[in-house]
């Protein structure tokens, strides 16, 4: 009887969650639906389904946006590797090594996150343009365009800024790992880097997956920085590409929506892949074994 009772409760919870999920997913569904409607249909019957399917919207969107999506994937993947490696390493140091000056250094890194992005935009632009000995610049940073209009101007700041957030995230996760795990390995004579690589990393797959997803979403959503620093379409990312594609009010907004759907596909792949690492019981297994 108690088991039955519990099953009903589970079913109820499942229903509630499904309701929330539907509400949460509404904007996503509406994007899909709009990607097949004409502007007249969108304005006249916003909540209804399209009259007919219009695959040409997707063809047109892909023809224009393919290269931008590819660029975003390239920069996004590079960012994921850089951010996940550097943040987990720094996060480990701050969480598990007790060293002098820790609090000061940590706060100095964390403080970077608190400076409004608008404030740093112009100095950052000038600095990436005048970075010495890069992109035709002399050692005083004059004469060339520095990192501007190269993939580095995206990759470097995404990794450098992403790791600030990532370090904070990883630190709080590593702090919650039981000290007993590290004790055992330390007694066996493992170095700190080995502890990080062999003990901390394998146990933190869920948080690293989260970090990877957020890093990728960050690259995908960033608009102003790539807009300002990149002028060549061969390098430019999706968020800027889609505004070019949409133009100043594309007469078929459905095409723009189709573009958004296409652009989100790499993200969905990353989500689906990342969520595989969200498995319960990693730590427990480690303690027992």
């Amino acid at each position: 009887m108690a088991a039955d009772h519990k099953r009903y409760k589970r079913a109820l919870v499942g229903l509630i969650l499904a309701g929330f999920a539907l509400l949460t997913l509404l904007p996503f569904f509406m994007t899909l639906v709009m990607s097949q409607k004409t502007n007249g249909e969108i304005l006249n019957q916003f909540w209804s389904l399209p009259e007919q399917l219009r695959p040409e919207y997707y063809v047109n969107a892909f023809t224009f946006l393919g290269v931008y999506i590819g660029n975003t994937v390239l920069v996004g993947c590079g960012t994921i590797f850089g951010v996940v490696f550097l943040s987990s390493l720094a996060g480990y140091v701050f969480a598990r090594i007790d060293f002098a000056g820790k609090k000061v250094v940590f706060l100095l890194i964390l403080a970077l996150m608190m400076i409004p992005g608008i404030l740093t935009l112009i100095p950052a632009f000038i600095w990436y343009k005048e970075f010495p000995l890069v992109g035709g610049n002399d050692w005083l940073g004059q004469g060339g365009t520095g990192f501007l209009n190269t993939r580095w101007v995206l990759l470097i700041p995404y990794i450098a800024s992403g790791q600030v957030f990532g370090t904070f995230l990883c630190r709080s996760f590593f702090e919650s790992l039981p000290e007993s795990l590290f004790e055992a390995a330390r007694i066996d004579g493992a170095s700190e880097f080995q502890l990080y690589w062999r003990v901390a990393l394998p146990l933190s797959q869920p948080i690293l997956a989260t970090l990877a997803i957020l890093a990728f979403v960050g690259v995908y959503n960033d608009y102003v920085w790539p807009l300002v620093t990149v002028s060549s379409a061969d390098i430019q990312t999706f968020s800027v590409g889609i505004t070019l594609f949409a133009g100043e009010g594309n007469l078929e907004p459905g095409e723009t929506m189709a573009g958004y759907v296409l652009g989100s596909l790499p993200l969905i792949v990353v989500f689906a892949f990342g969520m595989k690492y969200y498995v319960a019981g990693l730590t427990q297994g480690a303690i027992k074994g």
Binding site: L43, I118, F125, T210, V228
Partner: protein, 849 residues
């Protein structure tokens, strides 16, 4: 369409066209002089050159690419780099100008950087316009709309080249008019009568967007200017240059006679800014005067026929009312026409209707009105040429502009844009370019009404005063401000704007002298680490190395080894931050102590910005909103995802958990654009989902104008994204809860079987680390966030959703006061830093007890 309404107070007329001839004799003279050096010039001109052309008019992208291709074919030594910059155009331009050098565009939409004209940033085009366009063989000006070019004259010079024209008109449903037996109105009174009849027939008479965006750069703003010009044009004689003034010209001012019924009579007149400002300061031009009172009464008279929820509506929802035939008329701009024609062609016959448009009928029963309504629009694509002090380069840039404004290029602009499925902004101002017949008669309504002369939404184009006006105008129209209070505050904000402009442009308030603006060019100080990134990099790396060395030295025993290892492992992180993050951050904060106007170089000014900050009322109003949003954000970021995580974990089975996890992640891929669109449609007072749902539940008493009511707008912004299961918080809590050892659970479940009790006594304390993380991150992001309110309400209605971060963004990139924007940023930074330190201390303290 993000066009800024521009209101340069100058113009032109047919009748006095001859007067300009004098000027052109001069130009011919210049031309003859130039011809003398022509041989050398042509030799130089074949040198390679790059022209940088940046525009926000993304609708013309394909056409411009084709024009550029043809231009480069004819001029192989010249390359034209086209940058289409959609949103954030002002940010793009201002950033480049601040960095200086080659990357500054040569040609761009000048109306996005107000003030550059008077800072010597732009090339005066007068002499070029008088010259021959070598692609047509005619004088360049003859192939353009000389009238509108006149209107953009500033301090006697032309800096702006308008390519196309945008304005508003009344669009109406002709079928509905026929059905109701309505005739087109000849006077304002007839129009009001017509609106009354439409209303009684159960339709919305006029649909219009009335959110802050619409007041700033949309239909409401245009409407106010339309009324303004009709009431205020008799101020011209009082404000124009007098004999002896530096900008007085006999032909423009001396021969001018006030003729209110002649639509073009005041177009050439030069208004002297110092006289204008002095009149405002002395109270001769008082914004509490009866004329202004009457103007806003008229606006109120018209507004009673707008859809009930116009205060919270954007232009798109107004169009929606018109499309669905719920509204008989709609105020729209010329850029909408292509879209309507295109959409109607694809609609089902029973949904389609005949539409047409008419010009605003004149007010005939009001002695304070000076004359009929004149055009208030302007160039859609208005191009300015950046001054680079390189005559040959300038020659090439002008040559390209001449090619761009040939009839062939104009025709390409129309054809290719339409073929690409993009809208036309309005009629082209290039001679000999006709629109396709199905569009031409719809565009006709916009021509031949003359152009506005004097208008005061703010002080000219100064965006800070215009935006302050937007706030009080919305409050007045929403009934939150009495007419007297509105006019009083209007007068005050105009005087503040005058003070700012007098300072910015270095005016001495003596109309007889031309004043040099304080053009500040300052070489960077290479020894100032806040201006020299390399020096900062060296300093920070050294400081870190010294700090690490001291720490290692002072540590004892095993701690010494640990400390050394820690610093070695941190090296890659710190190096990357030192090389790329600290300089922009510290340099940004440093500029809080400078006066840094966009277009000029920063100058140290100590604590001036902070004095201004203490007196900045708008900042403090915003603080209250920020705290409310912050509180809501904290709940949304912690409690909601925590409960969602618990619910997911309550379910048995890895597969179902996986499905829900991924489902709650998916909204992260939804573009902000769609999110805004959907939430606007949910909140829309006239046909939104929320009000319809309340209706169905017979709770229509609760229905409201969610985004348009100042009492509700902030709540509506908080409500966005319901049920607020943020992906990030959910994942963090899931990871935390999944990490709890089953042994602990097991021990606990023996004691108690209640799940709720377990959650409260076990789970909540065990995920305190995650909660702390989320609280700090939410705090940081929430204080800095301005995008949400920017795209939803622009801080309106009135100041109802204004936040300090929005003030920072406006100051820095909309008004161009980087230094003051940085000061607000520094204040927000200190606030977040303090709160984070306290937060860490408090939550940590709890843990140890």
């Amino acid at each position: 369409m993000p066009q800024l309404c521009s209101g340069f107070p100058t113009g032109f007329t047919f009748s006095t066209n001859l007067l300009l001839m004098r000027r052109f004799y001069l130009h011919t003279l210049t031309l003859v002089l130039l011809l003398g050096i022509l041989p050398t010039r042509t030799v130089w001109a074949v040198e390679e050159d790059v022209i940088r052309f940046a525009t926000i008019n993304a609708n013309y992208r394909v056409a411009l690419e084709e024009i550029i291709r043809r231009y480069e074919e004819r001029n192989p030594h010249i390359k034209v780099e086209l940058s289409i910059v959609g949103q954030e155009f002002a940010t793009w331009i201002r950033t480049r100008v601040a960095a200086g050098g080659d990357m500054v565009p040569d040609i761009y939409n000048g109306n996005y950087t107000n003030g550059y004209d008077r800072q010597g940033r732009w090339v005066a085009l007068d002499s070029h316009l008088g010259g021959v366009n070598r692609y047509t063989g005619k004088r360049w000006l003859d192939g353009l709309d000389a009238k509108l070019i006149e209107r953009y004259r500033v301090d006697g010079k032309v800096y702006i080249l308008p390519i196309d024209y945008i304005d508003i008109a009344v669009f109406y449903n002709r079928d509905l008019f026929d059905k109701l037996g309505l005739q087109l109105p000849k006077t304002w009174a007839e129009w009001m009568e017509l609106c009354e009849r439409v209303q009684q027939a159960g339709y919305v008479p006029i649909a219009i967007g009335g959110d802050a965006q619409a007041y700033w750069a949309g239909e409401m703003g245009w409407l106010v200017r339309l009324l303004g010009d009709a009431y205020l044009r008799n101020y011209v004689p009082m404000l124009m240059a007098q004999p002896g003034d530096w900008d007085y010209e006999q032909a423009r001012n001396g021969d001018y006679q006030y003729r209110p019924d002649d639509l073009y009579s005041d177009m050439l007149v030069v208004v002297n800014r110092e006289r204008e400002f002095a009149a405002m300061r002395r109270g001769e031009l008082d914004f509490r005067a009866p004329k202004f009172r009457r103007l806003y009464e008229r606006l109120g008279e018209l507004a009673q026929y707008f859809q009930p929820g116009y205060m919270g509506a954007d232009a798109r929802s107004a169009t929606q009312l018109f499309y669905t035939q719920k509204a008989a008329m709609c105020l729209m701009h010329s850029g909408s026409i292509t879209g309507i024609v295109h959409d109607f062609a694809k609609m089902k016959p029973e949904e389609r209707f005949e539409f047409a448009n008419f010009w605003f009928p004149p007010i005939t029963d009001d002695p304070l009105v000076e004359g009929p309504f004149r055009g208030v629009g302007g160039g859609g694509m208005v191009l300015a040429v950046m001054q680079k002090n390189d005559p040959l380069h300038e020659q090439n840039v002008v040559d390209f502009l001449q090619f761009l404004t040939t009839p062939e290029s104009g025709r390409l602009l129309v054809e290719r844009t339409l073929a690409d499925g993009q809208p036309l902004t309005g009629p082209l101002l290039i001679e000999g370019v006709d629109l396709p017949p199905e569009l031409a008669d719809k565009f006709d309504v916009f021509r031949g009404h003359g152009y506005e002369k004097i208008n005061y939404r703010g002080v000219g184009d100064e965006q800070e005063s215009v935006q302050e006006w937007v706030i009080i105008a919305q409050e007045y129209m929403g009934g939150r401000l009495s007419m007297d209070d509105f006019l009083q505050r209007y007068n005050e904000l105009m005087l503040r704007g005058v003070d700012r402009l007098v300072r910015r442009d270095g005016l001495d308030m003596d109309p007889t002298t031309e004043d040099e603006p304080p053009i500040v060019h300052r070489e960077k100080n290479p020894w100032n680490p806040f201006e020299n990134g390399s020096l900062m990099l060296v300093l920070i790396t050294t400081a870190f190395a010294v700090f690490a060395w001291v720490q290692v030295r002072s540590a004892q025993g095993p701690a010494k080894h640990r400390t050394r290892t820690a610093y070695m492992l941190l090296f890659p992180t710190v190096f990357l931050l030192a090389a790329f993050n600290y300089f922009p951050a510290l340099s940004g904060l440093y500029h809080a102590f400078t006066e840094w106007e966009s277009g000029r170089d920063p100058v140290f000014n100590g604590l001036d910005n902070f004095r201004q900050l203490l007196a900045d009322d708008m900042l403090y109003v915003g603080f209250g909103n920020m705290l409310i949003l912050l509180f809501a954000a904290l709940i949304k970021a912690t409690i909601v995802p925590f409960l969602a995580a618990e619910l997911i974990l309550y379910l048995v089975g890895d597969r179902i958990r996986y499905v829900f996890r991924t489902a709650f992640l998916l909204p992260m891929v939804v573009p902000a654009l769609v999110g805004v669109l959907i939430w606007r449609l949910i909140y829309n007072p006239d046909m939104g989902l929320l009000n319809q749902a309340l209706d169905m539940l017979s709770l229509s008493a609760l229905a409201a104008n969610w985004l348009g009511d100042p009492e509700l707008a902030l709540g509506a912004i908080i409500g966005m994204g319901f049920p607020w299961i943020g992906a990030f918080g959910l994942l963090i809590y899931l990871a935390g809860l999944m990490g709890i050892s089953p042994d602990i659970y097991h021990a606990y479940t023996i004691e108690s079987t209640s799940t709720l009790r377990r959650i409260w006594h076990l789970d909540v304390p065990l995920v305190r680390g995650q909660t702390r993380l989320l609280v700090i991150l939410t705090f940081i992001s929430s204080v800095q966030d301005f995008q949400t309110v920017l795209i939803m309400t622009r801080g309106g209605p009135g100041m109802a959703t204004y936040v300090p971060a929005l003030r920072m963004y406006n100051q820095a990139f909309v008004y161009g006061h980087f230094g003051y924007g940085a000061a607000i940023g520094l204040m927000l930074f200190l606030l977040v830093l303090t709160m984070t330190v306290i937060n860490m201390k408090v939550l940590r303290g709890e843990e140890t007890t």
